[in-house]
């Protein structure tokens, strides 16, 4: 079968009329929640509640409720933090970088991915606060003028983290909201309920779909995309410095920034895939979020997964090449020590399974994709666990080595963070357009001026 690569594939299958798109995307917002939706919300809300109780216990009794110890002073807490920050990265990549690169296929998934970025960063942002021994003093990490003239320690990577994550959250939130303004206007125009109309009116900031509005909008969107782009690289680079700047063997490594960024995109795409596979099914959006989307994301997963695998190999090489016995021991200990099981879960989930995406059949099979992306999520959580816990549990002095065993509260907070994430996702899916109504119209067939038209040929 020959293919004409000069013709762009249809991004939306079936070329539906514009009005139908409005109706379809606004359908979850206009209808009352279904029984299934309520059940789903009950499950995620329940998880959230468990997490809240566990956080409450931690606040009341102290970090001792967790399995953390000396030497393993960080465990699930920072693992979860890095995991969730990583999840956020796919959203920014899709919405900002792919936008600047004019990858129009991003339109169908951008809104959702951006929302996931925000929710993931919210989940992530909780952990640095709750992981402190005295969370009520966490404000000390923020530079504010005070009568003692004490400032945070600006050479500490944790302070950089505060800036990186709060900047990331702010920019993502603004970017997301700006993108939502035309859709709010559409919703406002459709709304019949007075309360809804008022709310949408407020949020649409008086948008009238005028030419001037669109001109300004496009400019702002472009600028924000430009601002968000470096964040894709910087945030996880800063997070990786938490480790790379430390002297601990297994942390003290220059490969961490690129390795972490690749890992973040890898896990982020896996999470976006996981969620979208359900969303497109539940909300009948299979023709908007198409198989092609999933396949493209699988390709990115394959690419970033291979980068991560490369980083794993380089770690082995470097630990040998560095000549320090500590590095070599840490690497060997990761694979063959007490936490070997976690290491091999990590390697198989992150390196082995994504390689199956070399096969087109697998890339385009939804059940197999779903299994692999979930495994990638598991693997990426374990990657952070392995980096943090296995390095700490056996560091320099053998006298201080100790095994870390998580407690129920640790698991409660981990599941609670998933509860928070999916609760926010569900609320989002039911209250805001999960696909950009205005942008999607722009990628319909025939919506754009053709580059293959006669006038442009000359």
């Amino acid at each position: 079968m020959t293919k004409d690569y000069s013709v762009e594939l249809a991004l939306i299958e079936g070329n539906p009329p514009l009005r139908e798109l409005d109706d379809l995307i606004a359908a979850p917002i206009d209808t009352r929640p279904s029984h299934k939706y309520n059940i789903a919300l009950a499950i995620t809300g329940g998880l959230l509640l468990i997490g809240a109780i566990c956080v409450g216990l931690t606040f009341y009794y102290g970090i001792g409720m967790w399995g953390n110890n000396i030497p393993v002073a960080w465990a699930f807490d920072i693992t979860n933090f890095v995991f969730w920050v990583g999840i956020g990265h796919a959203g920014t990549l899709i919405s900002a970088i792919l936008y600047l690169l004019r990858q129009q296929w991003r339109t169908g998934i951008a809104r959702f991915a951006e929302a996931m970025t925000i929710f993931a960063v919210i989940c992530a942002g909780l952990f640095p606060i709750i992981h402190t021994g005295r969370p009520w003093l966490a404000g000390y990490l923020i530079p504010y003028p005070n009568q003692h003239g004490i400032w945070p320690n600006f050479i500490s990577p944790l302070v950089w983290d505060v800036f990186a994550v709060s900047t990331y959250l702010t920019v993502s939130l603004v970017f997301w909201y700006v993108g939502l303004i035309p859709d709010f206007a559409t919703l406002r125009d459709r709304a019949t309920n007075k309360i809804k109309k008022t709310i949408y009116s407020v949020f649409s900031l008086g948008w009238r779909h005028s030419n001037r509005h669109w001109k300004h909008y496009e400019k702002v969107y472009m600028i924000l995309a430009g601002l968000a782009t470096p964040l894709v690289l910087s945030v996880h680079t800063v997070v990786s410095w938490d480790f790379a700047v430390a002297v601990l063997p297994g942390w003290h490594s220059t490969i961490f920034p690129p390795y972490f960024v690749a890992g973040a995109i890898f896990s982020g795409f896996a999470m976006v895939s996981t969620v979208l596979i359900f969303v497109r099914k539940v909300f009948d959006m299979e023709h908007i979020i198409t198989m092609d989307h999933l396949e493209k994301m699988n390709k990115i997963i394959l690419l970033t997964g291979s980068m991560v695998g490369y980083a794993y190999i380089i770690e082995w090489f470097m630990s040998w090449y560095s000549g320090t016995p500590f590095e070599l021991f840490t690497t060997l200990n990761r694979a063959f020590g007490p936490y070997g099981w976690a290491y091999w879960i990590m390697v198989s989930c992150n390196v082995f399974f994504p390689q199956l995406f070399w096969f087109k059949k697998i890339r385009r099979s939804i059940p197999v994709t779903l299994v692999i992306v979930i495994l990638v999520n598991v693997g990426m959580w374990f990657e952070r666990f392995v980096i943090i816990v296995s390095s700490l549990s056996r560091d320099f002095l053998p006298s201080s080595w100790h095994y870390f065993t998580p407690t129920l509260v640790d698991f409660g907070i981990l599941f609670g963070s998933f509860g928070l994430f999916f609760t926010l996702i569900l609320l989002f899916a039911k209250s805001l357009p999960v696909i950009s109504i205005s942008e999607i119209k722009g990628v319909l067939q025939g919506a754009q001026p053709s580059h293959h038209g006669d006038e442009h040929d000359a």
Binding site: I70, P135, L141, V247, L248, P398, S399
Partner: protein, 1042 residues
């Protein structure tokens, strides 16, 4: 600005400038003529839109002219502050000043009082630090001839027992239903005096532990005089009776001499832990390490140890043989045979020919090469070696050892300057049986448990517990309810040592005094005062000073005259109390010549059995059980196994294989018809088929801290001794199926794992050499780093003093006394077994113990590990809130108030010496136990009590540094390194810890220790630049490599 009235006159010097301005006219809108003609005053005024009274630059000096604006601002600010800032602030209680200022107290300054510790029966001299009238720390009395300013862990921890909230607070008597009721002294005194008077011809039996007070003994004598049917039974769980009786047979005296450990070149210890529990370790370890002086290699001693399981002494040995205790006799006989063959004559005519060292080595798989080396060393160090048998070994071993020492001329090392003194000799083991028989026969009318716990200490099959039921009146004088007092009728609360008067006589040459440093906290009395009150008969009026007067009287009339001093008694007495001791010219007993008739005991060859053998040892932590409610001691890691909060059965890995068990599996041990189930622990270096258990654990009646701690191995003991009262052959040992959780502060690493084997040596954490290696090349350690490492940041400057520490690993025996001293000094909380299990112990100072070599014959290395106060501290960089910073005197400071508890500093600390308050441990441990008002009194007021969520660590005793600094400032002199001694340094029996100023290049600290060629830093490659120098341990072995 239409009004011109308020405008001030311009200053004269501005006029020229203003003139030039006025000439430059331009189009101008004028409102007045002044405007039009550019009046200078108007221009000047226009620069200050508002007059002085309304200016906003606040200046308090001009406050009188306060503006309306300022006034309103201040009113607003004060209202806001009053509303928000001064809300309900946490109540910190009331501070009440002294109504009457005590003469000797300066608030904020500590007072020190000399006294005598009775934590154990060695009676070491102590200095008790008190603050505002409450004792907070115990240290050694430097004037004391035996302890010389040092203390052991138990003595350090005894201060915690003073404030134990579970101490008895009032007298109690048993009610009809068996429970104890609160009573009054008046009431119980009356009843007991009545009972005493009605005793008739029945016996009154005192059951006491070793009595070291001559005046206390006199009180008992007085009691005997008044009640002639009284008998005093004194005992100790571990005593020297076997050694004494061997000496009786060999030298005709029921005593044994002290040993000049410092002069010995070769020491052979047989099943003895003289650096740990055998004898007065405070003195012994000091003398022993005087022979491990790295700057005096000629005097360097060599230690051989043959023992059943690894002890502190075994850890320090140069050559070690693991040997079951019933083979010790054969071992000594083989040595006798070998030195005989080497041409050294052995007195007497013993048939030594049957004892072959070679076949002995084969039988117990010992290294023949090392044994031959031992014989060679003994033969060449004639008169300069010591062979010392443990007190638990049977008599024939002691006699053989005496013979060996005699043959080698080692009697020269028996000390003649001093000898142990028994104020009241302990009763023979057989005599206890008589007491029980009398009790059973109904001949005993009253038993007085005189601060003792015989129900726990006596062998079970003696039947003391049941016999107690046949005694009509059982009175227990005790600090807290114990296994014995619970079975009695009266429990009388005993004052703590620090609330009591007394004296002590443990050695010839001096007496020591005990004085109270605090009034009795509760309605308690000291035991002598109780007896004196009873002796007065009715009506009972208690005089608080009764024993004090008695003590002074006794001294004035009986003891003071023996001193032949020119001082008046008052002077003598005050000097004695001040110094804590009174020196007396006294001749110690002399020993006769060796009596060869004792050798008949050696005629019979005693063959070692092949059955399982049970060895009972004294506990490092719980003592004889007295300290089983003391959290500091129970949490002190066992010096060898690092296990806390438990005792266990130490077995070898071969034995474990035979029994099919792992560590933590319960085993059932059957000795005779007595049975014990106890968790097993595979201890490297244990002799096969030997099971070693420490006594003192597993008390049934004990406070909440000690409840459920350990297993009572006393139940294996028997009235008819086995091989000795502490060594028994087991009928049967088997796996019992269940398991238990022993917790240790160090993980136990597999010897077989290539990944972790000898990790500490490979990583240069432990750097060691041998004496020969050092003699050949003093710089064999090669600590000079060829690569000069740089830091990203500018180096810190240390203009004044810079604190540093040096730890001489040749002297550190690994006992852990420093750990308890640090606990006491720095208000370190007890965390409990559950928290040690998850590696959250809080001790700022730990003793790391590393094994290398094989599991059967491990080489042990100890290293104390504390904050290294690095110059390039990795913890400082990463703290996000600057809660850990660097001081100009080289300390890595911890600011608790600022700490939010991210724990990043701990992660980045290569030494993992930082400790995190995972809980509020004062609340978390045993349900609020450490928040008791009483226990809070033990805290050092100079050290912050840390809240939960806060990181903490060793500060080099910053409070002591600050005190020394303020003293120096007060005295107008520069602060010197020697002004400060850390708590661990004060406690260290062997002076292994040195502390001082590294910038003082002329100090002994800098020249002798800090720059020693054997000095190294741990993890130098990380470029942390630590300020703790470790002086590498030299092993005195034949080879040049460790």
């Amino acid at each position: 600005m239409s009004e011109v009235k308020n405008i001030h006159q311009p200053k004269a010097d501005n006029q020229t400038e203003d003139k030039s301005k006025t000439e430059k006219l331009d189009t101008n809108y004028w409102r007045s003529f002044k405007d039009l003609f550019r009046d200078t005053s108007l221009i000047e005024a226009s620069n200050h839109e508002f007059g002085d009274g309304v200016k906003d630059d606040f200046e308090p000096s001009k406050l009188s002219g306060i503006s309306r604006r300022k006034f309103l601002a201040l009113v607003g600010a004060s209202a806001a502050l009053a509303g928000a800032g001064c809300s309900d602030y946490r109540s910190k209680g009331d501070i009440i000043p002294y109504n009457k200022m005590p003469e000797e107290i300066t608030v904020g300054k500590a007072n020190y009082y000399a006294s005598t510790s009775t934590a154990c029966s060695h009676g070491c001299g102590v200095l008790i630090k008190t603050r505002e009238g409450r004792p907070i720390k115990v240290d050694g009395n430097p004037d004391h001839p035996v302890s010389k300013g040092k203390t052991c862990a138990k003595c350090q921890a005894s201060i915690l027992s003073l404030y134990d909230p579970e101490r008895l607070k009032f007298p109690m008597r048993k009610s009809r239903n068996g429970g104890f009721l609160k009573s009054t002294w008046q009431h119980v005194d009356d009843e007991i005096i009545n009972a005493l008077n009605k005793i008739g011809n029945k016996q009154i039996a005192f059951v006491s532990q070793r009595i070291i007070s001559p005046t206390g003994k006199k009180v008992l004598d007085d009691f005997v005089k008044q009640y002639p049917n009284t008998k005093i039974y004194s005992y100790e769980l571990f005593d020297e009776q076997i050694r004494n009786s061997a000496w009786q047979k060999c030298y005709g005296i029921n005593k044994f001499p002290l040993i000049s450990w410092d002069k010995a070149k070769v020491i052979l210890g047989l099943e003895t832990d003289f650096l740990g529990t055998d004898g007065n370790k405070v003195e012994t370890s000091r003398l022993y390490t005087q022979g491990r002086e790295v700057n005096n290699l000629k005097k360097f001693n060599r230690l051989y140890v043959a023992e059943s399981t690894l002890s502190v002494t075994g850890m320090n040995s140069d050559y070690r043989f693991r040997l079951r205790p019933d083979a010790q006799f054969e071992f000594v006989m083989c040595l006798l045979n070998e030195i005989n063959k080497n041409g050294i004559s052995v007195p007497g005519s013993l048939p030594l020919g049957g004892y072959s060292l070679k076949s002995f080595a084969g039988k117990y798989s010992l290294s023949l090469k090392n044994l031959k080396q031992l014989v060679k060393d003994l033969a060449s160090a004639k008169g300069e070696s010591v062979i010392y048998a443990g007190r638990t070994l049977p008599e024939n071993v002691h006699i053989a050892v005496n013979l060996l020492n005699e043959a080698l001329g080692n009697t020269a090392l028996y000390r003649t300057d001093s000898i142990d003194v028994d104020v009241l000799p302990l009763l023979k083991h057989e005599e206890i049986k008589e007491l029980v028989n009398d009790m059973n026969a109904g001949n005993v009318g009253m038993i007085i448990h005189y601060d003792s716990n015989p129900v726990f200490h006596f062998p079970d099959d003696l039947g003391y517990k049941d016999a107690l039921k046949k005694v009509p009146v059982v009175v227990s004088i005790t600090g807290s309810q114990n296994d014995s007092s619970e079975l009695g009728n009266y429990t009388l609360p005993l004052s703590h040592d620090f609330e009591s008067w007394g004296d002590a006589k443990t050695r010839t040459g001096f007496y020591s005094f005990q004085q109270p440093v605090i009034d009795p906290i509760f309605s308690t009395r000291q035991k002598e005062a109780i007896l004196l009150t009873w002796l007065k008969g009715k009506p009972v009026v208690f005089d608080e000073m009764v024993y004090h007067k008695y003590l002074m009287n006794n001294w004035q009339n009986n003891l003071y005259p023996t001193f032949n001093t020119k001082m008046t008694f008052t002077e003598f007495w005050n000097a004695g109390l001040h110094d804590g001791i009174a020196i007396l010219e006294e001749e110690p007993d002399s020993f006769g010549s060796f009596n060869s008739s004792a050798l008949s005991e050696l005629q019979n060859a005693v063959k070692a059995s092949s059955k399982y053998i049970v060895v009972l040892r004294e506990s490092y932590q719980a003592g004889d059980g007295k300290f089983l409610n003391n959290g500091w001691l129970l949490e002190l890691p066992h010096p060898v196994s690092k296990i806390t909060w438990d005792n266990y059965a130490a077995v070898s890995h071969n034995t474990a294989k035979d029994l099919g068990i792992k560590s933590n599996d319960m085993i059932a041990i059957r000795v005779g018809d007595r049975k014990l189930e106890i968790p097993a622990f595979i201890q490297p270096g244990t002799a096969d088929k030997t099971i070693t258990i420490e006594l003192g654990f597993g008390r049934k009646v004990v406070g909440i801290v000690g409840t459920g701690v350990g297993f009572n191995a006393n139940v294996l003991r028997s009235k008819s001794a086995g091989i000795s009262p502490w060594i028994y052959l087991a009928n049967n040992v088997s796996k019992s199926g269940s398991s238990y959780h022993l917790v240790a502060t160090m993980e136990h690493h597999m010897f077989g794992e290539a990944l972790t084997k000898d990790a500490a040596q490979k990583r240069k954490i432990i750097q060691e050499g041998t004496v020969k290696e050092y003699q050949k090349d003093a710089h064999f350690l090669n600590t000079e780093n060829p690569v000069k490492m740089e830091s990203l940041y500018n180096p810190h400057e240390y203009p004044g003093v810079k604190w540093g520490m040096a730890v001489d690993l040749n002297k550190c025996v690994g006992c852990g006394d420093c750990v308890v001293a640090c606990n006491a000094e720095n208000n370190i909380p007890i965390v409990g077994k559950d928290q040690v299990a998850v590696s959250r112990e809080m001790q700022w100072l730990r003793v790391d113990r590393y094994y290398s070599g094989s599991i059967d014959d491990p080489v042990t290395s100890n290293q104390i590990m504390l904050c290294q106060q690095c110059d390039n501290a990795p913890c400082e960089n990463v703290c996000p809130v600057a809660a850990t910073t660097h001081s100009p005197d080289g300390l890595n400071q911890m600011i608790y108030n600022r700490c939010v508890g991210t724990r990043y500093c701990s992660n980045n600390c290569p030494y993992k010496v930082r400790r995190f308050n995972f809980f509020n441990y004062r609340d978390h441990f045993k349900d609020n136990y450490q928040q008791s008002h009483l226990l809070s009194l033990v805290y050092n007021p100079e050290v912050t009590v840390r809240s939960r969520g806060v990181m903490e660590k060793c500060t080099f005793c910053i409070q002591r540094i600050m005190e020394a600094r303020s003293n120096a400032i007060e005295e107008h002199r520069p602060l010197k390194g020697s002004d400060v001694r850390t708590a661990c340094q004060d406690a260290c029996n062997t002076e292994a810890i040195k502390f001082g100023d590294m910038n003082d290049k002329d100090s002994e600290f800098y020249k002798k220790y800090r720059t020693h060629e054997l000095g190294y830093y741990v993890l130098e490659d990380v470029n942390t630049r630590p300020n703790v120098t470790y002086i590498a341990k030299l092993r005195n072995i034949e080879s040049e490599e460790v």
